[in-house]
């Protein structure tokens, strides 16, 4: 736990070194948010008040939340580890007196948390100040369950990051599959468009996959499209995926370490 907090602090400090890059990121997310909201509004204007259980106002909030949590998605494994695999520093990493999986999980978590601490409040603040129809509105009643689910979503995302990092044992260049999988994952998570907009069967299947547990689950609770029972079962599913992905991550890492060979020197 102490190791984790010091990692978050380091990641956050790193993050704050590049303040203008961070602000540029926030600006980009705001513009993309505006584009999506205006497009969705026009789609709803085609004679729909609700789509897949989601009203327009809720879709607007969903877009803002998914823009604000954009950097929470597992876009890649831990970049440092990728470099370590190439230059052999991985040997030091394996020699540390910490459990490898726990260490990488904590580092993944720090990597996903730090940008959130800076970007999310800024995006949400700006989204609350938008003109009518583009503004974020949240129901206070759902904040507690929603925040809990968001925290679980970050843990699931960190577990996914740890698995991606584990694959570096096999592929030392971060190209290819490591580039494509996160794209597909973010699509299935609801990052490209809310899962509520998918046809019923597809929507159900997507929500069962682990990706939805990262983003769609907390977001649909936060914007209030579920009742308490559904919310609790969604959180239960998140817990299941967290356990399953953690177990899978441990297996991947163990197999990776076993086949890993460091050239001496």
């Amino acid at each position: 736990m102490r190791a984790f907090f010091s990692m978050v602090k380091t990641a956050l400090r790193q993050q704050l070194q590049y303040r203008s890059a961070m602000l540029a990121g926030v600006f980009t997310q705001l513009v993309f948010g505006l584009i999506l909201i205006m497009v969705y509004t026009a789609f709803y204007d085609n004679g729909y008040s609700v789509m897949g259980g989601m009203a327009l106002g809720q879709a607007v909030s969903y877009v803002w939340l998914s823009q604000g949590t954009y950097r929470m998605m597992p876009w890649s494994g831990i970049k440092d580890v990728e470099a370590m695999m190439r230059d052999g520093r991985i040997a030091f990493e394996l020699a540390r007196p910490l459990d490898l999986y726990n260490m990488w999980f904590a580092r993944s978590m720090a990597m996903r948390t730090a940008p959130l601490l800076t970007n999310l409040p800024l995006v949400l603040l700006a989204a609350c100040l938008m003109p009518e129809g583009l503004r974020l509105t949240l129901q206070p009643a759902w904040l507690v369950l929603g925040a809990l689910s968001l925290g679980l979503g970050m843990l699931v995302s960190a577990a996914m990051t740890a698995i991606l990092t584990g694959t570096y044992f096999w592929t030392i260049s971060g190209q290819g599959i490591n580039r494509i999988l996160p794209m597909i994952g973010s699509f299935c998570a609801g990052n490209i468009l809310p899962l509520a907009f998918f046809p019923e069967g597809v929507r159900f299947a997507l929500r069962m996959l682990p990706f939805a547990s990262m983003l769609d689950a907390p977001l649909r609770i936060l914007v209030g499209t579920v009742d308490v029972r559904t919310a609790l079962s969604v959180i239960g599913l998140q817990l299941f995926w967290l356990a399953a992905l953690t177990a899978l991550g441990r297996v991947v890492l163990r197999a990776g370490v076993k086949k890993c060979m460091v050239q001496g020197g």
């Binding site: 540029a24 600006f27 026009a42 599959i177 490209i192």
Partner: protein, 264 residues
């Protein structure tokens, strides 16, 4: 004429070096294809659920989307040197560029031809062809010619944008990502009809960065939409693109004059 020959000489040399890592190139192109086709998958899903968008059908949107994505993919492939330019300034390599006899714009342009962008090109072309094929009245040769002009204008406009982004490096190498709002954000924005946006937003993309001239205005005229603008605006794409490219080149020259080497 001779510069064109030199350009191909340099670009082909760069290509040969990229082709030394064939697997990496193929994966890059496939990754680019997957990453961009996902956007259209999203649009397709929206149409499957909502039916239409502001009176536009999916086939009509496919034309909008295809034109803007083709334009951007070509500009990205050709103008990748501008994208990588921040590194050139940071490392001091730009000093060497200044010593050579060719113009700086020409050298940066020919420093890289990024063929992995074939991925976006392929998906844009595929969507455009499907969109054209799905038009109930078909399209005449003249109309197809107009679309081709729009794509060329689009390439010029995006190249101008990339030049401006790179020229910013002469003042700062930080927060260049903000420019992505105009390139990547612009491509996303222009994938939908401009009429769905609020008027301030619309005006920005018609009068400041005229992305709307590239595909929305011509497509609206082609598909017989009500437009508050005269019909000749459908033919403005090459003009807008050309002017923007010129503007980009001017900003670039201004930047070069401002450049002070760190003396590396």
């Amino acid at each position: 004429m001779e510069s064109i020959k030199t350009y191909f000489l340099l670009a082909l040399a760069d290509l040969r070096s990229q082709m030394q890592h064939k697997a990496s190139f193929v994966l890059g192109a496939v990754g680019n294809f997957c990453a961009t086709i996902i956007d259209f998958l999203g649009i397709w899903t929206l149409f499957a659920s909502f039916g239409a968008l502001d009176g536009w059908t999916l086939a009509q949107i496919a034309v909008l989307y295809g034109v803007i994505n083709l334009s951007f993919s070509i500009a990205e492939a050709v103008g990748r040197g501008f994208d990588l330019f921040a590194g050139m300034v940071k490392s001091g390599d730009f000093d060497r560029v200044l010593l050579r006899l060719r113009g700086t714009l020409f050298q940066v342009l020919s420093s890289r031809l990024e063929l992995t962008r074939l991925g976006r090109f392929a998906q844009g072309a595929g969507v455009l062809i499907l969109g054209i094929a799905a038009q109930p009245q078909g399209m005449s040769a003249g109309q197809l010619g107009l679309l081709l002009l729009c794509i060329l204008g689009g390439v010029a406009l995006f190249l101008g944008l990339l030049m401006m982004q790179a020229a910013l490096c002469f003042w700062t190498v930080e927060s260049l990502e903000a420019f992505n709002v105009l390139t990547y954000g612009g491509v996303t924005m222009a994938g939908y009809p401009l009429s769905v946006y609020r008027s301030w937003f619309r005006r920005f993309f018609l009068y400041v960065v005229p992305l709307g001239c590239l595909n929305y205005l011509p497509a609206a005229v082609l598909f017989g939409k009500d437009l508050p603008y005269p019909a000749f605006t459908a033919y403005l794409a090459p003009v807008a693109g050309g002017l923007f490219l010129l503007l980009g080149a001017l900003v670039w020259q201004l930047g070069v004059r401002h450049y002070r080497s760190a003396g590396a």
